[in-house]
Amino acid sequence: MSRLANTFEHLAKTGRKALIPFVTAGDPTPEFTVPLMHAMVEAGVDIIELGVPFSDPMADGPVIQRASERALAHKMSLKRTLVIATEFRKTNQHTPIVLMGYLNPIEAMGYEAFANAVQCAEVDGILTVDLPPEEGQQCRELLQARGIDSIFLLAPNSSEARIQKMSALGSGYIYYVSLKGVTGAGHIDITDVENKLNLIRANTTLPIAIGFGVKDAVTAKLISALGDGVVVGSALINKIEANLTDAERAKNEICECLVAMRTAMDERS
């Protein structure tokens, strides 16, 4: 069983939801990321989405755009992101890592070389924002052959047929984009999410993680009740941006934020 499937199964048994932070690899510096990942695990996260910096992050809001720019200024790349994942894995064998990014760095590396490198780094899942399943068959098959999950997005305007397609082709979990917009947007509507989740649930047995627009412990709790996991990104990266000269403080503030989310999500309501 894959690390992701294992994680969700364990959570389901204990009646808990996955807390999934997103951080951009190498933001604000390459040295910051591995210690941050370990600290986040200490703070109670279940899965880590590691953002691969890209020059043109079309689906991201300004906060994650700037995170990419800071990382790229330090020559961060897909290859170096995989080095970070490898480094983390040396002392953590249980927390799944999902790489989230855009297709062009993967195209530049070549699909097969990418699949091999990902396997080597013991990364568990790949979420490529601009690679829908229609264009992604080759990549998906190469990853699947190596036991790596392909995670697909669903959006508020995704049709039932689309949901069924993602359910059939994806593995690990489905990432539900909670709103029409970019990452970090501020207009999440809980009722809309709930209605859509019912439709998705009816069409898949995969776990569903919900992201985009999760700002604090209160939204994390509300959202987690609807799905199997909550993804939080921009709210964490804001802490990095607010403490660019003090890495330790940035790390601590991120962990405080995650602990608060964890606590709120685990409360029995």
Binding site: N104, D130, A155
Partner: protein, 400 residues
């Protein structure tokens, strides 16, 4: 060519290029757009309305002008100019915006967004939005806002909101990123009018089809003027909409050479250029696979060109395909050479071309002398140079 050219396939692929590489929220919007486009393409009422707009609003057909004095001076082929500069708003861009705006209206969209580089597409979009009474937001890189301020003013006069994009390299690619972000947020009521033959399917095919009026007219006009097909077609290529508009109706006419001219900026060898077909490699950006300017890690490289309209790291996927199959040829012209073309047409024919089109002029100055006097070159004069007066005056040290 024995088989008729039928690209793209039904999912927007030109061989390995093109496609629909977008985030999930845009998939339903692109499907809705493709369905509407395929439907109205066959709808006689829609076609009649489009034809009437092109005739009475845009001012088509645009003339095919024999540049006799310039041809004689170059001492080779006869040079004809397809006068897209004479269209309403001053470039070929309006052919496409008129078409997409009619689609937007039929699809019930109330808000129009666009990206623009030189501002020509932004102006052409603001123009049709004003005419239809639709809200219009144009995204433009902050660098381009500064160097094309005249067009920024025109867009504002027409009632559009111009958003200066401060992210990335602050040019056309960043404007496209920001327009995509807007679309993903406002996808229900918003129609995104992409200005070039790039972006996700169906844009490359749809924009081509709206621009193909250029080539269809040219073919007829060339027969009328010379009694036969032209020997060579020359057009500048940024995203490549004016070039594909001219080339497309000639693709099955194997005797007609097609030459796309990319912007070499300071020179392809300096790395400061915008010539992905000549010096780039395949990759995926802005929803399609095509030739790109990217580094070994797949990060997009900043581009350079004197002309804001060519300052783009990608190119339409159909050009990538035409290059690979050898049907079209792609060359490049530096900033300095483009200026030679700019001055030549201005002084020899009394026509001031846009800096984008000047790249095609400059290449023709190399090509024409190598051809016979009874051969014909047709250049797409895609836009007029009025918007570039500030850039030119500044280069000449003149304050306007």
């Amino acid at each position: 060519m024995t088989e008729k050219y039928t690209m793209p396939d039904n999912r927007g692929h030109f061989g390995p290029y093109g496609g629909m590489f977008v985030a999930e929220t845009l998939i339903p919007a692109l499907q809705e757009l493709n369905d509407a486009y395929q439907h109205y393409l066959e709808d006689p009422d829609f076609i009649a309305e489009l034809d009437a707009d092109l005739q009475y609003y845009v001012g088509r057909p645009s003339p095919l002008y024999h540049a006799e004095r310039w041809s004689k001076a170059l001492g080779g082929a006869q040079i004809y100019l397809k006068r897209e500069d004479l269209n309403h708003t001053g470039s070929h861009k309006i052919n496409n915006t008129v078409g997409q705006a009619l689609l937007a209206k039929r699809m019930g969209k109330t808000r129009i967004i666009a990206e623009t580089g030189a501002g020509q597409h932004g102006v052409a979009t603001a123009t049709v939005a004003a005419r239809l009474g639709l809200e219009c937001v144009v995204y433009m890189g902050a660098v381009d806002v500064a160097r094309q301020s005249l067009n920024v003013y025109r867009m504002k006069l027409l009632g559009a909101t111009v958003v200066a994009v401060e992210s990335g390299s602050k040019t056309l690619k960043d404007a496209l990123n920001e327009a995509l972000r807007d679309w993903v947020t406002n996808v229900d009521n918003t129609f995104y009018i992409i200005g070039t033959v790039a972006g996700p399917h169906p844009y490359p095919a749809m924009v081509r089809d709206f621009q193909a009026i250029i080539g269809r007219e040219t073919k007829q006009q060339c027969y009328a003027a010379t009694g036969r097909l032209p020997d060579a077609l020359v057009a500048c290529v940024g995203g490549g909409s004016n070039a594909i508009g001219l080339f497309y109706p000639f693709i099955d006419d194997a005797s007609v050479k097609m030459i796309g001219v990319e912007a070499a900026g300071d020179g392809v060898l300096t790395g400061r250029h915008s010539a992905p077909l000549c010096a780039g490699r395949p990759g995926v950006l802005h929803g399609n696979r095509t030739y790109l300017m990217a580094d070994d890690d797949g990060e997009i490289i900043e581009t350079h060109s004197i002309s804001a309209g060519l300052d783009y790291p990608g190119v339409g996927p159909e050009h990538a395909w035409l290059k690979d199959i050898g049907r079209a040829h792609y060359v490049n012209i530096t900033d300095e050479e483009a200026l030679t073309g700019f001055y030549a047409l201005t002084r020899m024919e009394g026509i001031i071309p846009a800096l984008e089109s000047s790249h095609a002029m400059a290449y023709t100055m190399k090509l024409a002398p190598t051809m016979k006097q009874d051969e014909t070159i047709i250049i797409n004069l895609s836009g007029r140079g009025d918007k570039d007066m500030q850039t030119m005056a500044k280069r000449e040290g003149i304050e306007l």
